[in-house]
């Protein structure tokens, strides 16, 4: 059975694209057949985060307008046997696609792929409506900041109104040092306020910037964020994984392993 999952947040810049790239890659690493769709028409980004920007021929708009077949537009990620990307169009805008067309597209992809991940644009307008149209479940990404949480609450309300079957929360960019000082809301605080199920928290890890620079999602690597993303993927598959300690106090042993692995 396949699942269509939308990654959304309301506010921009909280990590939707990074989350889509890492969760999608993580699921592929766990041997699932995955396709990622960038629905942010006009501002495409998922291709660069994935490191696949040089291989785009056709895009999402070409597919819905019938200029090409789905297969022609899908970019196969050569690093993983089961990972594909459907890039967004850069020269069009969000009105180029309708919710009905998105639903039709995701339904077609269901036949071949186990997980279809949609990277939603920021905002609550047409682009958001397109992204949620065909989705069974949603991952709401927020950071522990008032603006992001307020927008996440709004999005959760809209997802409920859209009768989304399941909505889970990812708290991104957590800085445990600040939480301990009392200068950042804790993961519990955020969950308490938004009152939805937490599927994982990701630390504010500089390795994310490095991995984005290189176009290689860090899920599953020895980094704290890499572990956090892998745990989220496992929880999505129904595994019971305990929450990671985000304070980053790694043991001497894992530090040594890290040094050895660098070469």
């Amino acid at each position: 059975m396949s699942e269509v999952i939308v990654v959304t947040s309301g506010k921009g810049g909280v990590g939707k694209t990074t989350t889509t790239a890492n969760v999608g890659t993580g699921l592929a690493k766990l041997d699932k057949k995955v396709v990622l769709i960038d629905t942010d028409i006009g501002l495409r980004n998922l291709d660069v985060v994935m490191g696949l920007e040089n291989r785009i021929v056709y895009n999402l708009v070409d597919v819905v307008e019938g200029n090409c077949r789905i297969k022609q537009a899908l970019i196969k990620d050569k690093r993983y046997p089961n990972l594909y990307l459907l890039p967004s169009a850069q020269t069009r805008d969000k009105t180029a696609v309708t919710p009905e067309q998105m639903r039709k597209l995701t339904d077609e992809l269901r036949e071949e792929y186990e997980y279809i991940l949609l990277d939603s644009p920021a905002g609550i307008e047409q682009g958001f409506k397109n992204a949620v149209a065909g989705a069974d479940r949603a991952l709401v990404v927020t950071t522990p900041e008032v603006s992001a949480i307020r927008d996440a609450d709004r999005i959760i309300g809209l997802l409920e109104a859209n009768e989304m079957k399941r909505t889970d929360l990812i708290v991104n960019r957590v800085r445990m040092d600040m939480v301990k000082r009392g200068d950042m809301m804790s993961i519990d605080d955020v969950v308490d306020i938004l009152a939805i199920n937490l599927i994982g928290a990701v630390p504010d890890d500089e390795n994310i910037v490095i991995s984005t620079n290189q176009g290689e999602p860090l899920v599953g690597t020895d980094t704290l964020a890499g572990q956090a993303y892998m745990n989220i993927c496992k929880r999505m598959l129904g595994e019971d994984v305990p929450m990671l300690d985000l304070s980053g106090k790694s043991s001497l042993w894992s530090k040594l392993m890290g040094i050895l692995k660098k070469d």
Binding site: P144, E145, V146, I149, R150, D153, R154, G157, V179, R181, G182, D183, M184, M185, S186, D189, I193
Partner: protein, 90 residues
């Protein structure tokens, strides 16, 4: 939590949490400023039938309050209505 925490100042994360909790109640209630203004005007009309109130100083807002039951907090309409003259107007 240590003994010293009892005397500590409110941290910025406490402030953020308190502000958000209030903000989200009114966000979720979906009360537009126009609607609040209409409620306010109706309250002024009703109370004015019985006493003289300071319509300028009247303040209403949606907040959260502890519920009587066990289900935590519930939204509440809070109104602060300054009275000028308690005597019933003829």
């Amino acid at each position: 939590m240590s003994v010293f925490d009892l005397f500590r100042k409110k941290t910025s994360s406490d402030v953020a949490k308190d502000r958000l909790k209030l903000l989200l109640v009114s966000d979720r209630a979906n009360c537009t400023p126009e609607l609040m203004e209409m409620i306010k005007n109706d309250i002024i009309m009703v109370i004015s039938k019985y006493m003289e109130i300071d319509a300028e100083g009247l303040d209403i807002q949606i907040t959260q309050t502890e519920s009587e039951g066990n289900n935590g907090t519930v939204p509440a309409l809070y109104a602060n209505i300054p009275i000028r003259d308690l005597k019933h107007k003829e």
